[in-house]
Amino acid sequence: MTVAAGLAHLGDFDRHLARLAERIDRDPALLRRGRHLNTTWQLDIGDNTVLLRIIDGRIADIRQGPVVTPSAAFAISGETAVWRRLLAADPPPGDHDLFAFVKRRELRLTGDLHPLMSHLLYFKGVLGHLRGAVR
């Protein structure tokens, strides 16, 4: 697993990302939701890219940094400031859910969305771990 520091401008994001696999391993309800999920998920955060390889619901690998030829099933993309709002520990109304940002076109969902749409509660749970406060 390769998690390099590089997104310090997102506050604790690097720290949460480094601990993400471990945290999910300790979340049996989330693992059960993702038990049939195998995919590569791309986060575009400003100019930075994070690739998460998911095998049977577990985070098997994370690659981070500017990636020349990222290859993933689907991506969630947006400006750094938008991600900072989504991942805030206690977001205000309207900033509290992925789809609120999608509705406002501040985050974009691209690629083959089947893994995401068939496992929405799983992915929202993972984002909750990145926020550091699972809801």
Binding site: L98, A100, L113, L121, K124
Partner: protein, 294 residues
């Protein structure tokens, strides 16, 4: 007997409407009859059912004056789809929705009830205000918007390679306010997980397309039928801004933005919702009842 039994009664109503026969499940609580409470008909959200109103049905502070009546739309909860459903694509329209509501009210013989609906129900009360303004004592729209722009492709909700219940709950999960108690949040999502195939998607045909009531709001006459609008601050589907736009367009409409609530106020946090609803019900009750003697 050691178990506690709720004062909620569930029954089935048979009615014919628009050439089809329907078996409708409904629940009631509170006094009925000519000397009884003011009828308060409650409409659930898209892809859910009457269980959303379990808090209201059990609220003595409401049922001491109102007869709460909540029914499952056809295809929802314990209401059957009409015969022949398996050969059709289910789609809720403005005509079919208002039609079944009026047929239900007529079949039960309710005299000028209050109708309260949430989400699609919050939208349809605007249609009721336009089409049947003399038929109601008051209308209450929860999470009311005149129109909602799409923010995902609803075809994801009904396809064989995606579990319909899982995605429905996933789509709406973020519409529950973060402050909702965990048990109430997940029961609200459970209702969505139990919806029949294609039903949530079919309801959203009304929500996103056929039920667009922009441009007609100015014709709503609140002197004939008072209109109350209550919307949760965490609702980004029918947002507070959407509801405030309705209130600006309807002279006399009364609007409340509810703190720490989302798209399912009566279901995600029943006690907090009641604190907002009770003043509205007080005002409606004080407006004069044909049932309750002064």
């Amino acid at each position: 007997m050691k178990g506690a039994i709720e004062p909620v009664v569930g029954r089935y109503l048979h009615l014919d409407h628009a050439g089809r026969h329907y078996r409708i499940y409904f629940e009631t609580a509170g006094p009925d009859g000519p000397k009884g409470g003011i009828p308060l008909v409650c409409l659930h959200t898209a892809g859910s059912d009457t269980r959303q109103y379990r808090g209201l049905l059990n609220a003595a502070s409401v049922t001491d004056r109102f007869q709460v009546i909540a029914f499952d739309l056809p295809f929802h909860g314990k209401s059957s789809p009409p015969a022949g459903w398996h050969n059709e694509e289910y789609r809720l329209t403005a005509d079919s929705y208002t039609g079944i509501i009026m047929a239900f009210i007529a079949a039960l013989g309710l005299e000028r009830p209050v109708v309260m609906g949430c989400s699609i129900g919050g939208r349809v009360v605007l249609h009721l205000a336009l089409r049947h303004k003399r038929s109601f004592r008051a209308l209450i729209g929860l999470e009311s918007a005149a129109h909602v722009d799409p923010y995902y492709d609803t075809s994801w909700l009904h396809r064989p390679d995606v579990h319909g219940g899982e995605i429905a709950a996933g789509v709406v999960s973020g519409l529950v306010a973060p402050q909702a108690p965990e048990a109430e949040r997940w029961e609200t999502l459970w209702h969505y997980m139990q919806s029949g195939p294609g039903v949530f998607k079919g309801d959203l045909y009304f929500y996103g397309i056929d039920g667009d009531v922009r441009g007609e709001l100015g014709n709503i006459d609140t002197a004939q039928c008072p209109l109350y609008l209550l919307t949760g601050e965490y609702d980004y589907s029918c947002s507070p801004e959407d509801t405030l736009a309705v209130a600006r367009a309807v002279a006399g409409a009364k609007v409340t933005i509810m703190k720490e609530l989302g798209h399912f106020p009566m279901s995600e946090n029943p006690d907090l919702f009641l604190s907002y609803l009770e003043p509205v019900l007080d005002e409606i009750a004080a407006g004069g009842s044909i049932y309750i003697e002064a």
